[in-house]
Amino acid sequence: MLKGLHGRKGIQMVLALASGILFGVLLQKGGATEYDVIIGQLLLSDFTVLKIMLSAVVVGTVGVHLLKSLGLAELHPKPGSAGQSIVGSLIFGLGFATLGYCPGTVAGAVGQGSLDALVGGVVGILIGAGIFAALYPRLQRGILSKGNFGDVTLPRLFGVNEWIIVAPVVVLIVLLLRWLERAGF
């Protein structure tokens, strides 16, 4: 673990900016910052977004679990509950299709000159996040705590070594991608 490096705030801010720039270049070059590409994915006519996400997950899963096995990285799985994960993701999906960008790609869309992303999307997301912050105490006591399952990962859920889950997940995603290509998507 590079604990020393993780604690150095100034360097971390520079690393974050550099990671963001690289992320932005990749998203833009992949076409994921385009409204038409994102809506094409949701209309199931253009599978670019899914191909990008699934190949990122394949490469990321193997590498990050390798780093973890070597003691070089720690995982930070997010907690969830039925009321949080299912309801929240469906509201997000509604926004995804209505806006046509997500919080990362909207930033990339702003960078490539999409004014609907800047004046509509970014402002809307800020308002939506503000509404959530205002509702949070009430939601937290109610729906967000319904069906809580915490920050469990699949390997912990099944009580097995993580590679027993990593291997089939990676194989299944690769097979799915290959099927998408063969089907002509």
């Binding site: 910052t33 038409d36 997950v57 970014v122």
Partner: protein
């Protein structure tokens, strides 16, 4: 080349996630930066008491690692678009124009509304397409697999209603 293969781009994002876990102990994510910014703007108007709100106690309204990441995305996409010669100030995307026309106001209002749902939903679910969809699923987090599937189920359903029913 204007576009790269989605597999090259995806693999690049995967490698980037190794680097952020290794060098910064952080998963890639974007939506808390918007929540923090929202708090910072509210603080400008309503004073320091805003930081005492329960949600901003959890996510302080300040510039942090993830905020710099999102700022970097804007720069990276700008540089990439300029180099590729695709940078263009544009209000209405082509696919929108083909279904709903080229008027700016309707697109602006729908984008604003979509943004509100997205901001609300991303914070409700605890993350977005990068935080849950990529970084969370690659950690094999149960919450992230549920959220990633839910985002696409909701998005696919809503996109079909908007483009196949409303636009038709």
């Amino acid at each position: 080349m204007e576009r790269w293969s989605p597999y090259v781009v995806g693999a690049g994002i995967g490698v980037l996630s190794w680097l952020t876990f290794l060098l910064s102990d952080k998963p890639l994510g974007c939506s808390t930066a918007f929540a923090r910014t929202s708090g910072m703007i509210e603080k400008l108007f309503r004073g320091p008491a805003v930081a005492e709100k329960p949600y901003y106690k959890k996510f302080a309204p300040e510039i942090d690692w993830e905020w710099m990441l999102v700022f970097g995305i804007v720069i990276g996409a700008f540089v990439s678009a300029r180099i590729s010669g695709t940078f263009e100030m544009r209000w209405v995307p082509a696919l929108w124009a083909a279904h709903f026309g080229t008027a700016v106001l309707p697109r602006f209002l729908v984008a604003l509304l979509g943004g509100v749902f997205m901001g609300l939903g991303a914070r409700w679910a605890g993350g977005c397409t990068s935080g849950h969809g990529i970084s969370g699923t690659l950690q094999l987090a149960v919450s992230s697999w549920i959220v990633a599937i839910g985002m696409f189920v909701g998005g696919i359903a809503a996109a079909h209603v908007i483009f196949r029913l409303i636009a038709a």
